[in-house]
Amino acid sequence: MLEYILSSPNQAIYTDFQGSRALLGFYNYAKRYRNCTIKLNFDAINFIDANLSAVLFAMIYDLKKTYNIFTFIDFSTLSKDLNILIRNGFTNHVARKEFTFSPLDNRDTTIPLRVISQTDVDSFCSYIEHDFLHQRGLNPINKQTKDKINNHYLEIFSNVELHTNTKDPVFVCGQYFPIQGEVKFTLVDLGEGFLKKIAAFTEGNVNIKTASKAIDWALSGNSTKKGAFGGTGLLGIKKYCIFSGNTIQVVTDNCHYTHFYRSATSQQILNPMKGTTIHLIFRYLNK
């Protein structure tokens, strides 16, 4: 059996550019093959942000669908901090036993991985309301802030329908970090990304040609819908990040874009995966 050893600096995979590169290492290795099983080895990793389960499982889903590649994970290697991948249901999804899964939340920090159809709004809303915001771990957050967070998640979900042009589901997962006072949330789609539609829409006008500019354009409240404007919620999220010290990251086409406080940075990804990943990092202590 083929084997890929997941690796990253400091043996940890966080929600950042380096983390994206670490996970893409597996995807780009695997997609060179067809009709086989690849063992994903976690021995060189001690920690992973559990919300990244959404990214990793989206990769595994796409590898199976596009290249008929199965992924095998030896659960016994997921020890210590990595057992979050068992507790949040990631391993059940990989083993295709997700329907018998209920999260083992003995630390009150676990938010399950879910795969949700783009049109199944009720499941998504229920996930955000019950699996996410009603957990005991988020008690320090007041209702007003929770309502804002809920609102931002729904805006992101509604955005998927507008830009992806695919019937594939979305992959969502989160994680609380009580000591740091952070909630991380990740949503992944396997659609066309931002650039294609935005480049076509702005041709002859502002002529957007790069993924970084396309993300900037979308986060400034613009929309590619004619005759009925699309969602403008990404601008609201950007403003919320600016004023509240939160972070939004958008990974699409060949760009990893980060907006934190008043600064935006973009880094180039050499071998990107299709689709778009949006990470939101809320910092709720002292607010």
């Binding site: 709004v121 509604s158 005759g227 919620g233």
Partner: protein, 112 residues
Amino acid sequence: MAVLKIIDIINTPNAILHSFGLKVFEVASESISRNQSIVISFQGLKNITSAFCNASIGKLYLSFPNTSELLFFDGLEDNPIWHEKVQSSIELALNPEKIEQQNQAISDLLCS
């Protein structure tokens, strides 16, 4: 005056998707296009998004010049976030270039 309950049109309390907004637009435009006043009711909803508001209310304002005289709302009184989303969709429909310029200016100012 006819009352259109959004929840009855989209069959869910979650008015999230752009496509749901287009359904509401289709139903409401039958009245507006005949110069008949209507009330769009948000009663019973749990969530709304800007994509939904732009595709429903914003599109009515874009499509029919007399919408402001014929369209009324119910169920927004106690929800400032929803009220703001509805107002934003109306402003965006009536003054898209102005709103774009404002957004860009805010964006430039905050990120400079």
